[in-house]
Amino acid sequence: MFTGHRERNILEFTLSSLLRRRGKHLALVVIYTALVFLLASVMFFAGSIREEASIVLRSSPEIILQKMIAGRQDLVPMRYAEVAEKIRGVQRVSPRLWGYYYSPATKSNYTLMVPDNFSYGDGHIVIGNGIARVMSAAKGDRISLLSPEGDPLTFIIAEVMDSRSELISSDLMLVSEGDFRELFDMPEGYVTDLALSVKNEKELSTIARKLSELLPGTRPVLRDEILRTYDAVFNWRAGLMITLLGASVFAFAIFAWDRASGLSAEERREIGILKAVGWETSDIILMKFWEGAVISLSSFLMGMVFAYLHVYFTSGALFWPVLKGWSVLYPEFRLLPHVDLYSIFTLFFLTVVPYTLITIIPSWRTATMDPDEVMRA
């Protein structure tokens, strides 16, 4: 494409003409780059978290069975586990014991869980890295949690979970079953919910139906639903952000239209002279095309590179205030890069395509101006 002598001449001329009105075009490039940067950051960020969720949560239990009373989740009696175990296709039913603990000292919520086999025994606790950071606690320290009656229970921190797992474990506290029941005063024979493992995925919906028949008042949550939740939530979130940013895209489009159509007297004279010295309308259209291409190409590339650096080298620093919301405790994680041709293509369609289409009519108007009309004006 660049080998053509005519194209090169026109590109050279376009660049000179762009540089002559440096300020005007620089503003356009800056806004354009910022727009690409914002859209790309949102997409990269949401895409990475979605990808992470879809990989990591594939290992979560096939079915979670919860009991509902008056619209609230309630404790599940162990007898339910025996009923569920008898359904054909259910391999294993594991009771889950977990709950939330609000710590008034740090004003944050923790998720307490009892692992299947807690090797450290009573009186010990394993905490997520986020909790360790908020409490500035380390392995071997003692922390105390309050029971509903106000009695403190003291634990020795046996382990702080790997900081690289913060995306799933930042607010987790693992304790033994005995400690959990004592802390929350939870009766024996009851658990928070049940996790069912099912070997054959095709039987999942049948099993879920049987569960609701045999145990009315329970709610089965399938792993597929868990996975789709994160897929949809981040699609939705990215979509929402882009819809909000749509206002900026629209403003940008108006700005671009204005830049392309509002010609200064000097520009008009330039076109007039070009026509007078024998430039064809198609040459000027080609020049306008190059002008758009130069602006789009540099803004798009710069915006993408900046967005990549922002999301994967600073972990999306600009998004943190929004993501944190009111939480004191929040995960600190380095996202795994997940950028592919698809996201680049989508971004291209969100920015370059509208820009190109919107500048067609103004540049055509410019290109078809009469030389004498222009010169006289």
Partner: protein
């Protein structure tokens, strides 16, 4: 040099495109380098039977999005509208917006 500006532009564009390619390459390399990290997280999810990412810890229905039910946003009292910042970010999970099973 006759086409000085054109050459500068083409070189600059090539540099930017290369940088973008390097970014994509960096992504691929990281994906491979940190595969064990990901596998570790998957194992943790399996062992602890986790269902959610620890992203929004303000409210219980945003902490465990996939376990949220229709009542969770109104749990405090009937007119208690959803008011956590995270609620506006995370959006409703699809199993709540669809038809009740």
């Amino acid at each position: 040099m006759r086409h000085k500006k054109a050459e500068v532009f083409l070189i600059a564009t090539a540099v930017m495109a290369t940088l973008l390619c390097l970014c994509l390459l960096h992504g691929r390399v990281q994906e491979n380098l940190r595969a064990d990290e990901l596998a570790k997280r998957s194992r943790m999810v399996e062992e602890l039977m986790l269902t959610d990412l620890a992203l929004f810890m303000e409210a219980r229905y945003t902490r465990h999005l996939s376990l949220a039910d229709r009542h969770s946003a109104f749990q405090d009292h009937p007119m208690s509208l959803e008011h956590f910042p995270a609620g506006s970010l995370a959006g409703p999970p699809p199993h709540l917006t669809g038809v009740e099973r």
